[in-house]
Each structure stands twice: as structure tokens, then as C-alpha cells.
Symmetry: C2
Subunit: 209 residues, 2 copies
Amino acid sequence: MRETAAAENRPYHHGDLRRALIDAARRLLESEGPTALSLRAVAREAGVSPAAPYHHFKDKGELLDAVAHEGWDMLNAQMAKAKAEATTIQDKLTGLGVSYVRFAQANPALYRVMYDSSRDKEALPDHAHMQDDSAYCQVRDTFIEAGADVNNEIDLELATNAAWCAAHGMAEMISFKMFDHLKVALGGEEAFIRATFQHLGIFAAARPR
Amino acid sequence: MRETAAAENRPYHHGDLRRALIDAARRLLESEGPTALSLRAVAREAGVSPAAPYHHFKDKGELLDAVAHEGWDMLNAQMAKAKAEATTIQDKLTGLGVSYVRFAQANPALYRVMYDSSRDKEALPDHAHMQDDSAYCQVRDTFIEAGADVNNEIDLELATNAAWCAAHGMAEMISFKMFDHLKVALGGEEAFIRATFQHLGIFAAARPR
DNA sequence: AAGATGATCTTTACGCCGTCCAGATTCAGA
DNA sequence: TCTGAATCTGGACGGCGTAAAGATCATCTT
């Protein structure tokens, strides 16, 4: 008797069920949305019994955490690419912000999981803002490149936080239909994002003070 | 046989079960958080059978919508109060932003429900941004009072949207522990909010352009 | 090589959930 | 007063997260 999903032939026990579960979860997240993502559905998609995941994750939340972790890694990578491709400091800053919003827009369900699992712990995961290649550090470093005062740690963090607020706020707003006419008037979504950032100042110009 | 919750003696059928259900939901939301808010629990809290709510709401989502609606009304009122109490235009703008964030902070579960039920419809509810007393219109009007060009509708909407992004982003960030040391360093949460807004420009100064 | 050990997976079960349906109760209008 | 509609109850269904107990299988010890 064959499983319908992605199993085919299982070598010993499964091989790497943990990996398979995370992949199945991300597949379901894309295709069915966040509300349809149940532990049982993930197990089903991976071709395994409903209780099997408990040997790899303490509970559903821990599986979601693992999915969120990969989301942050993807976001960090995408922003690094955006920064690398930009030439001027100005472009780097704006590019980072636009890249952030575009990620949220391209992976809305994943983006939601990333913040939901953060909110439970009342903290963004460390690798999302503490490691060298993190989105947070990339923004902060760009502010430094732009001439921000390295010695004023507080102000540097404030600026980075402000940028994060702007980007996250924009990421949540852009999917609301109420702004569609602005996108049209400005000639596309990216123009809308850039225009909003311009009003917020922070991504449009480095503001060493 | 008496119910344990808030029923006591029911006159005819219940009186106004719709009202009672919304109140029960908000009570549970405050005390138990958003994850614990099930339709059955709400019915239980209201002292009524699990199927009773279906005579007043199409499904769970519609009950949540009603709760969200009251949340937006509360937010609009709180922001109107903040604006009325401020004297200068500067104070009005900053006060609106601070008031928004404070609301989200004081009612985190309600704030979550407000945006979750919006996201499902891909639109903020009309009364949250279209009526005269809405938070959106209050911010926009203040920009006008501050000298924004009334004829440039697009730019005015962009500015208002930008302000909303900043406030919402800040509202989501402020509960993360990773910023606690900034709150301490700046001498309180409100100072942290104001300093961040200052970096974002938009709430710190009207920016007619 | 053989058997023990422990990790992995399945089966079964429990209580909670959202929702539907059939019947009871009560209100309102003729 | 009778009738019909609105409101509420009780019970049922399938899906959920998760725990416990048993089966299976890779690996380690001797």
C-alpha cells in the first residue's frame, strides 16, 4: 500500500522526517494559507501518522518556530542580495526596505508565521536581529556606512528600529485594497512603497544627526 | 438551576444575547488572550448553549468582526481625545501617533483581533478610515491643519498612509523585549515611542511638500 | 553473531473545537 | 386565542492538538 503524498519508499524509519515535516508545512502554507495549517495536515502531507511529529517537535508551536526560522533566513538572504546589488548608499537603504516589503508580499503566510511565533515569546528570534548577516544588522551597518555616529549606540538602534517599524508597517498595509488606487496613480506597487518610504524619510536618506 | 456566569434571570429569551456575546468575548479576550477565545467559551461565558450564537452571527468570524468593530470605535475615540487635548499642531500629530501605539499596548489581544479580521477581507473596515471621526481622517485633517496641500490628494493620502505604517509598525514592535534597554535608556516607553517617531519624521513635524 | 537498547513510528483514545440539525420554548401579530 | 416566526437547547459529526502504549527497526555491546 503506497502513500499518496511524498513518501514512496521509506528506507529505515523515514530518513529525515524533521526536514520532511518542515517542507510539508511550507508547502501547505503556500497552497492553503495559514489557517489550514494543522499538525495533522502536515503529517498527512508528509505521509506519516498524526503523532509522528512529536518525536521531532515538542508541539505544534515548535514546528511553526522551525518554519519561521527558515523564513527569517530567506528574508536575510534576500535583503543581503538587494543590498549587494545596489550601488549608492541611498540605493542600498531604499533597496533594503523595498526588499523587506516585497518578501512579505511574496510570502504572506510565511511572513505571518514569522511574526506570530515571535509574538508568543515577546521577542524576535536572535538570528533575525543579532547575527552579522541578519536584516537588522544589514540596516544598521548601512546607516553607519551612510555616516551615522557609531559612538551614539542609542541613536543608531533607534534609527534601525524606526526603519524596521516603517518596513513592517508598510508590509502589513500593502495588501489592503484601500490603497489600490494609490498604486495605480503612482504607477505600480514598488512606486507606492518608495513614495511611502520617502514620506517616512528613513529609507529615503540616511539621517545621521 | 442557576448559571455560573452572567445570566442570573433571563427575562424572555435572553434579552439581548448579541450584546452579551460581544461583551463576553471581550471579557475573555482580556483575561485569557486571543488563542483561548473559542465560540464555545464565549457562549459558556454568556451562560448559553454552544449553538445559540448562530442566531446572531453567521459564524465565529462574524462575532470577531463585531468585537473588532468596537475596537476601532474605541481607538477612534481615544485618538480624538488625544488630539483634542493637544494644543499645538505638533502636539496633535505626535499625540495621535502616541495614542495609537498606547491603545495597541493597552489592548494587545483586541488590537490583534482588529487586524486579523481586517486581513481576512484584505481591507480595513470602512469606519476605520472613511468616517469623519475615524483615526485615518483625524490624521489626514491634522496634516491639512499643518499646511499640507489640500489639492494634492495623492500626496495627502501617501502621508497619512505613511503615518499609519509608522504607528502600526511601532505598535507591533514595542512589545518585543529586545527594545527594553532602549526604553530604559530613554526613560520610559513614551519617550521611546516619541524618539522613534522623531526618526520617522512624520509624527514629529508636518511635512507639507 | 546475538541480543539488548533506544529511537522512531502507529494505533488508539481523550477532550475541545466549529458547525449543523431537529426539537422545545417563547414572543408577536391576527 | 391561535399561528407563525424568532430564539434557544441537546445531540451529533468530523477535525483538531496531544498523550500513552505498543510495534518496528538501526545501532551498540559483548
